[in-house]
Structures are given as C-alpha cells and as structure tokens.
C-alpha cells in the first residue's frame, strides 16, 4: 500500500519526518519497505503518461510510504487505516472526513432494485444512483493523489471510486445504469456457460461457483474482482449506478484465483473489508462527486443488509496481559493503548477490561489478540529478557539425528566431502523403465527442472561431479545423506513414500598421490567404492555385508555398468543398496570422461542391520595365534563369494579370521584358472595350538574349497 505523507496528514496531525514515521510504523507492525521521494514520484507519474502539472502535484504529496500490510490487517489497506495506526502509535487524534449520510430507500429505491441470491457470499450490497453526469477527467488534485498511490487516473467517475477505495479501503464500482438490463442488480452465482467480457477486454467463461453481479439478464461484473466491459462507464455515459458491497473473502479469493485475475479490489476483499463501512463509502463517493462538480446523487440508497454485523466484545485480564507479555502493565496503560487504536475499553472489575471491537478489526477475536495490541502500542522494546523457569527437560538429538551424525563421521573419515543436492529434480532419463511410474511428481510444476521428487541421490551426485569437473577438478569423493521418494501406489494412484538414503561417488585419484608415487593408492575403481561401503559397515558394527551381481535380484539397473555393479545385502533382508560403476552412456551424457563409481544405501537398512543388543565383551585369549596361508587355484568363473562361503562352511576350529592377500592370473597358471592366497589366523582361548591342531583345521578348509569351488592345490 502506497501512502503519501501529505494525504496521511489530512487525517492525523503528525509532525514527525517521513523517515521517523516509517520507523515507528515498522516497529509498530506495519512494515514500511521503502520511501519514495518527490523526484521519484514525479518521474513515475510522467511514465504513467500524465501531464507535467499532475506530476508536480503528485510529487508535492511525497514522500510516499510503501507499506507492507500483513494479511491479517485488511483495515490498513487504506490511507485512513494507516492514519489510524499512526494516530495510535503517536497518541494523536484521528480526524475522519465529514460524510453526509444517505437515507435508506427514498427516490433511489423507486428507480432501481438489488436482489441478493446468496447472502453468505454477499452479506451486503448498497447502490446509489447519479444522473446526468458528464464524463471528463477528474481535477488535478485527485489525479495527483491517485498517481501518488499508484493508480492511473481514468475519468472523474472511476477516479472517485478508486479514490474512496484508497482512502477508506472499500472497493467501489460504477456501472453505466443505462446499459444494465431493467436498470437493476442481481447478485448471484454464475450459470454454467455464462461468459463475461471483463474491463481488461478478456472474455471469461464463468464457473457455477463464482459469484457475479448481474442485471436482469446477464453478468455485468465478477463480484469483488472486476467489472464487465459492456456496462463500463465511458465518455457517453449519462447515468451511473454506484456499487458498494461486502463479499465473502474466500469466495472472492477462489474466484480471483480460478480466473487468474488479481485486482486492487479482490486484494482488499480477500483481506476482509468492514461490512459496516459499505454505505459510508458510497456516501463518501457521492459527496466527492459533488465536490468535483458532478451532480448530486439521486436521494436515498438501496442498501440490502439483512443481517448486520455486530461489534464483538472481548474481555482481557490485565494480569494475563502482563504475564504473557512478560512486562509490567497497569490497567490504565492497557486501556489507553486499546483506546488509541479506536477500540472502546471499559474496566470490568479491578483486573479486567471489557473491550468493544469495531467491525473494521475482524482480526481481534481473542483475549490474546488484545494482548498483542496492548503490547505493540506500549512497545515491544519494553519487554525484558528472561529465561523460562520451570521443569528441567532432557535435551538431546533425535535417534535419527544421532545415527546420521555417526554415518557422516564415518564417511568424512573416508575422506569424502559432504554435499547437499536438490530434492526437486528433472526426470532422470536413466531410470529403469519399469520404475517410471514410481516417480513422485509435483502436480503444479512450472518447470521440468523441478518436476520430480528425487528417487535416488545418484543423479544429484553426478550433477555435482559434472559441475566440478567443468571447473577443473578431476578427482573427488562425495557423499550425501537425504530424503528420497517413491510412489508405492498401484494403477495410477499416488502413494508417496519417503525414506532416507546415503549415497557416495568417487572418481579419479581422489586419494591424491602427491610426489611420492610408491605405495600410493590407485585411481578410484569398483574396489574403492565397495571399500567405502565396507568401511562404513565395519564402522557401524554391521556384521555381514554381501555384494552380489545384478542378476541376483529382480529389477534392472540400466544406469550402471552391468559387469561392475553389485546389489548390497546386509544380512537376510532384501537388497540394502547398490554399488558400482556408472554406465558409460550415463557418464557420457553427464560429460564425465573418467570412470565414475557410486554407491547408494537405504539408511533404515543400515540401521536394521546393526545387532540390536549392542556390543558384548569377549574375553581376550592369552594364547599366541598361528598364521597360515593357503593358495587354492580355482576356475575363473567361481566368484570369490563362493570361496568365502566355502571357508565359512568348513567350520574350521580355532579360526579367528581370514582374508584374501593375493589374486593372481597368468603364467605359469593355465588359462581359466586363478590363484588366490588366503591368510588364516588361528587361536584358541584355552591353550597354545599345536601343529596338529592347525593342520587339521587347514585340511578341513582345503577339503571344503576342493568340493565347493573345485579348488586344486599345488603340492
């Protein structure tokens, strides 16, 4: 809302500078977002196409306050509304314009009629008639005030309606009376198929739930939003019907939204206009018509208002105000604060005030609302700082938060950089075709770029890799923890499920070798990605991790290299995630030249794989361990998982742990064979193991490898 300071001063004798008023209003709850200088107003007026004279007159009203009005304060969408706040904050009197009141009925009622079919949507409609008008430009002072507040002058009649709207907050509309069929008004819902050409020249098809103003035959305005072009006041207009009405805010809001048409009128009606100010606004317009040389209105007003809104009474306890505000407040101070706002407050017992709330303040319904008014007029700067006194509460992070902190620690320790990428993404072109219906889509997406809720963290990680490669980084290790979504509904139904995922990406020599080449880690490969997953599981105390090739599980992974990808299993549940090389087609699409390795796991799968009982102490053996190697040669096609399973199946006594220390192919091995070196550590908790003990254990392992993996051993 633009408020010229000179117009404000018409209603409140404020002496302070515009800057000071702006600060006071802002600190009182009406945020002044800007101050327009005379020069700025002058140039804006010229840009609007007005004359030098009008531009000068508009500039003379400056500075102009640009006030942001919160949605609960519809009463401040007018110069008088803002003046009332200024009066309250500065404790100054508010002087309202003198308006000669009209008489209900009279000649006007003989010449026209108003019929309201939906009193909920339109609780009040007042019409006044003015005959023999001569349409001309309005006087310079009026055009100047309109321009200063951002309204373009049109003609004397329309300018008066806009002027009253700006001054009092009540939108008005003037119809060309002679173009209204039977010269009367019907307020009703639109009928299916009805079309109205609005003032902006657009023919709009109306829907049956929209409230319209009609004459005897057809719609002539969208109620509270915009008038129709056919009944517009123009240079040939002789007689007018002036509308002042009250419409239900939600009805106006829905209609405006459905038509995609937001106007100064709909903006105000959505934020509630005072129903009891309707006739006063019509009368004010008629007084202004006379003031600018138009004829006196036809005596009387047609005012349909069967259920007048009564003023509300709200009680406030001063002691409660003091407690909720946390500052000392006397009964007198509280009463004075409320009265300054135009509320009527009277003592009711020694702690309470009985407050009558005018209908222009529909936002005040509760004791707490009055307490806020007392507080802000008294000044929030008077509130001291205290800390809550009360029961001790146990603070702490959530279980999820604690788990994610641990997860992050492990991944950071692997040398990965945490990233946070978009949840709203474009459709990922490499989603498995059977999963396209699993996407959760934004219904009202304005752009494909933010139309899908991510199903996976991988596209985001690839984006980050792409961005950084573009900026010259060739090696990196990244991870992200975030929510992903999947549609679990069948047959077109949308049942979105949300879960947390952890994903990582490695590319290039993300462990840089520096100048010391010897012993340096190689460029990231499948083993790097898998090693990070293993490291994570080990760190979390997950006892079992299995990686199996893609065909071990239904579901395709077209975004991955088919030969360098594995489902990750943690225990007996279904797959917990995937680790592998990004398919060369995907890398090419993302313009990544190096091989990219990624992993992604469900966080709940990790959590569920941790033994719930927590760690238990096992006594440490005082006896020495024995370390032995075995070097089975096995056929190329036998995967290591089977070797691992064969060793475990042997149930060799005293086997503490074992691991693979070498994998060899080539001369002198025959084609189709690979040689593994496995290192076993044996230890007993009861005694020092003998050679016989260890040989027995090893021979069991050998036998198991021979039978299960077709292993051979060189003597």
């Amino acid at each position: 809302m633009r408020v010229p300071v000179e117009w404000l001063k018409q209603f409140v004798p404020v002496q302070a500078s515009a800057e000071e008023i702006a600060t006071r209003l802002t600190m009182g709850g009406l945020e002044v977002e800007g101050l327009e200088t005379a020069e700025e107003v002058y140039h804006r007026a010229l840009r609007e196409g007005c004359s030098e004279e009008v531009a000068h007159a508009a500039a003379a009203l400056a500075p102009v306050l640009d006030v942001y009005v919160t949605p609960n304060r519809g009463d401040c969408n007018s110069v008088i509304g803002v003046a009332r706040e200024v009066a309250a904050l500065y404790n100054l009197p508010l002087t309202l314009p003198h308006i000669p009141p009209s008489v209900e009925g009279d000649e006007a009622a003989r010449q026209t009629s108003v019929q309201i079919e939906d009193l909920h949507a339109c609780p009040r409609y007042a019409a006044r008639l003015v005959r023999d008008v001569r349409i001309a430009p309005s006087p310079v002072w009026m055009q100047a005030r309109l321009l200063a507040t951002g309204q373009r002058p049109i003609n004397n009649v329309v300018d008066v309606t806009n002027y009253v709207m700006l001054e009092m907050g009540q939108p008005l509309h003037a119809f060309d009376l002679d173009r209204l069929e039977e010269g009367r008004i019907v307020v009703r819902r639109a009928r299916t198929g009805e079309v109205l050409r609005t003032l902006d020249g657009v023919a709009r098809t109306l829907a049956p739930d929209m409230l319209i103003i009609a004459d005897a035959r057809r719609p002539v305005a969208v109620a509270g939003v915009m008038g129709g072009a056919d009944s517009e006041v123009d240079e040939v207009t002789r007689n007018i019907l002036l509308e002042a009405a009250h419409f239900d805010p939600r009805v106006v809001r829905r209609t405006a939204r459905d038509l995609g048409l937001r106007t100064e009128a709909s903006y105000r009606f959505e934020r509630v206009v005072d129903p009891n100010g309707v006739r006063r606004a019509a009368d004010r317009a008629c007084a202004l018509f006379v003031e600018i040389g138009l004829p006196l209105a036809v005596p009387g007003v047609v005012d349909v208002y069967p259920n007048p809104m009564r003023e509300r009474t709200v009680r406030v306890r001063v002691s409660r105000a003091a407690q909720l505000l946390g500052m000392e407040i006397s009964c007198t101070t509280a009463m004075e604060c409320l009265q300054r706002l135009g509320l009527t407050a009277a003592p009711d017992g020694n702690d309470s005030l009985q407050v009558t709330v005018p209908t222009f303040r529909p936002d005040i319904t509760l004791e707490e609302d009055l307490i806020e008014e007392i507080g802000r007029v008294h000044g929030y700067e008077n509130i001291p700082e205290t800390l809550p006194i009360g029961a001790t509460t146990q603070g702490g992070d959530s279980a999820e938060g604690r788990f994610l902190t641990t997860l992050r620690q492990h991944l950071v320790q692997c040398g990965l950089q945490e990233v946070t990428t978009h949840s709203l993404t474009p459709p990922f072109p490499f989603d498995p075709p059977e999963d396209v219906t699993r996407r959760v889509m934004v219904r009202n997406a304005l752009s494909a770029e933010i139309s899908v809720l991510r199903r996976s963290l991988l596209p985001g990680l690839l984006d980050v890799a792409h961005h950084n490669v573009k900026h010259g980084v060739t090696a990196m290790g990244l991870f992200e923890i975030g929510r992903v979504w999947q549609n679990e509904g069948e047959a077109g139904e949308v049942v979105p499920a949300e879960h947390l995922a952890v994903g990582g990406l490695v590319v290039g020599a993300f462990w840089p070798s520096g100048w010391q080449k010897e012993g340096a880690p190689p460029v990231a490969d499948f083993g790097t990605a898998r090693g990070i997953v293993e490291r994570l599981c080990a760190g979390l105390g997950i006892p079992e991790l299995k990686c199996l090739p893609p065909d071990a599980q239904p579901g395709s992974l077209p975004q991955f290299h088919p030969g360098r990808t594995a489902w990750i299993f943690l225990g007996d549940a279904g797959p917990a995630g995937v680790v592998g090389e990004v398919h060369p087609r995907v890398s090419a699409e993302m313009r990544l030249r190096d091989r990219v390795y990624v992993f992604e796991l469900r966080v709940d799968a990790l959590q569920n794989a941790i033994p719930p009982e927590g760690p238990r102490y096992l006594p440490l053996s005082p006896f020495p361990s024995v370390v032995r190697d075995l070097a089975p040669r096995i056929p190329e096609e036998v995967p290591y998982a089977e070797v691992d399973a064969a060793v475990r199946a042997a149930e060799a006594p005293h086997l503490e742990h074992f691991y693979l220390t070498d994998l060899y192919r080539g001369h002198p091995l025959p084609e189709g064979l690979k040689s593994l070196t496995l290192r076993f550590t044996f230890r007993s908790t009861e005694r020092t193991l003998s050679d016989a003990d260890v040989n027995d254990a090893l021979s069991r392992i050998r036998t198991s490898l021979e039978t299960r993996c077709r292993a051979t051993f060189v003597a």
Partner: protein
C-alpha cells in the same frame, strides 16, 4: 702355555682395535671367544698339563676370557654408536617436502551450522525431533491455524504431489505432530529442508533449510522468548548480540513478532517468533489457563551467511568444491 694365552690376548686386542664395523668385531669375537676357538681351544689342551699346573692355568684362562669379553663389549658399544651415527646421517630426508596427501573429508557447511545450532539448543534442554519433508496439508497449514483459502498462504506457494500432500513450506509443520502426543512441559526443536515456489536468485530459493523451536510450560511469556532468543543469538554470534522484536503476523502465533539481531551496527532480521496461538494449544487439549508457550524459526543458510559472509544462497546447493572446501573448520 701361559705365553700362548698372553699372545692370544694381545692378538685379540689388536684385532678388536683394527675392527672397523660391528661385523668385523663379531668375526674377532668368533675367532678368539667362539666355541672351540681361540681361548676356548686352549681350554681343551688343559688335559695335557701336569695336574698341579691345571688350576693356575684354568684361572688365568678364565681371567683372560673375562677381560677380553669386557673389552669386546666396550669396543662394540663404541662401534655401534658410530654406526648409528653414520646411519642417521645417511637417512636424512628433506623435511621441507610436502607429506603424502590424505583426503580431507568435510561436512557440508549447512550440516556444520545445523550441528552448531543443535549443540546450543540441546544445551538449553531442547529435544530434537524429525518430521517428514513430504508433509500433510493438515500439519503444514490447517493445524497451524491457517484458515482455508487465506491470503497468508500467498507467501507459502507450495509444491503439491496429491490433494493433501505437499513438500513442507515450513518446519513449523512439526508442531502439530509433536503436540498430538505430548503433554507439557516440553521443549522441542527440529531442523530440516523446506520448499516454496520461488524464483531462484541470490537471496531466494525454492529449497532452503529451517530451524523451528517451540516449548510449552507454565507461565511462559514474551520475555522468555526474548531471553531465549538472546541466549541463542549470543551463542551463535557473540556475547554482545542484541535482540529486537517487531510485531508481525504468522497464523500460528499470537502475539507474533519478527526478530532481528544487531550485527556489526545493523539490524538483521532472522525470523518469525511469538507465543503459540491459544487455538493451537487448545486443539491439542492443552489448558491455556495453565500453560503457554513460544515458538521461533529461522533459516540455517541465513545463519551461515551472517557468520561467514556468503552472499549467494544458490552456492549451498551448487556444491562447488572450491566453495565447500572453505568450510572445514571447527565452529
């Protein structure tokens, strides 16, 4: 025979003196003191002596062995010290060369800031609770006192995926979820991602992160809110930080304020706050005559921007490593 001992001792001493390395010395030791060698070889010839001479010869031999052993140890110590000295001299490296690079893992700056916020609030007795990012309309708006079709929602343009589910526009959506099954007193906080339909520029984004804090207890007033915000802001921004209230409107608080902190001579608006609206408390069966509470919210990005001088919101989701690597420090 005795002369032979003397001769052998003299030879051994000369050989020790001549030894240049511990390896040489070991050879000397073997030659003169080894099993059946040198002096020990002489010991075997003891049987050829007349019995009366044997004790004296044995004694002399033992004394010679003992003396030689002692001298050998001394000489060994000397040589070892010298050899160590030489080895250390040879092994010298250029310590001014860079070390083997270790990859540095870092948390995203928003995680670092969230952790910092958590530490402060947990210290003040707040319990963190997580809510879904894809939220029910009921919790995001209706439970927070937003009337249907109200202009207050204009500032919260939402991403809907069904009629009733949307990406939360504010972490405040958690309040209803918590109050539905908690009795006061409680102090709750949450941090998470929020979404609003906004054109993206340096200060606006459709995706951002928010902290929401709320508590209910007996006798809570605006001064408790101001004090708590003061303590919170001083923990984040330094001990002389001031807090200022300005009336503002949010449907879920009454009175509602916008709060700002004084930072390097300017007032910076941080977020919205107020006393939890009595209609909300009553909707969850909390007696507003007994209990009241406050709530405040703020942006995680905003805090980090103030602390570090970042001036473009978009950097947080862009993940340029040159940006991320600037924030690996303890905060």
């Amino acid at each position: 025979m005795a002369d032979t001992i003397d001769q052998m001792v003299r030879d051994a001493e000369a050989a020790m003196e001549a030894a240049r390395t511990t390896a040489d010395l070991n050879a000397v030791e073997t030659r003169y003191l080894g099993r059946n060698k040198g002096l020990n070889e002489l010991r075997r010839s003891i049987g050829t002596l007349p019995p009366e001479e044997r004790p004296a010869f044995g004694a002399r031999l033992n004394a010679a062995v003992a003396a030689l052993t002692e001298k050998l140890a001394a000489r060994r110590a000397e040589l070892e010290a010298r050899e160590l000295q030489e080895r250390l001299a040879v092994e010298r490296v250029d310590v001014t060369l860079p070390g083997r690079p270790m990859p540095v893992g870092r948390l995203h700056p928003l995680t670092q800031t969230a952790d910092q916020i958590k530490r402060v609030l947990i210290g003040m007795g707040y319990e963190f609770v997580d809510g879904p990012e894809l939220e029910d309309y009921a919790y995001n708006f209706a439970a927070l006192n937003y009337p249907e079709d109200h202009p207050a929602m204009d500032e919260q343009n939402s991403f809907f995926v069904t009629d009733t589910r949307l990406l939360r526009t504010q972490t405040t959506a958690l309040q209803g979820r918590v109050m539905a099954h908690r009795r006061p007193p409680f102090r709750i906080a949450t941090i998470g991602r929020c979404f609003r339909y906004e054109a993206v520029d340096a200060t606006h984004h459709h995706t951002f992160h928010q902290v929401d804090v709320f508590m209910v207890d007996r006798g809570i007033g605006m001064s408790d809110l101001k004090g708590t915000l003061g303590a919170f802001a001083r923990a984040l921004f330094g001990h002389d930080t001031q807090v200022r209230f300005r009336p503002d409107f949010f449907p879920f608080v009454e009175p509602g304020v916008d709060y700002a902190i004084a930072w390097k001579g300017r007032w910076l608006e941080l977020g919205g706050a107020g006393l939890i609206h009595p209609s909300i408390l009553r909707a969850y069966g909390i007696d507003t005559e007994q209990y009241s509470g406050f709530a405040f919210g703020l942006g995680v990005e905003r805090i980090h921007m103030i602390q570090t001088g970042v001036n473009d919101l978009r950097l947080y989701l862009e993940n340029d490593l040159r940006f991320l690597r600037q924030f690996g420090h303890f905060i």
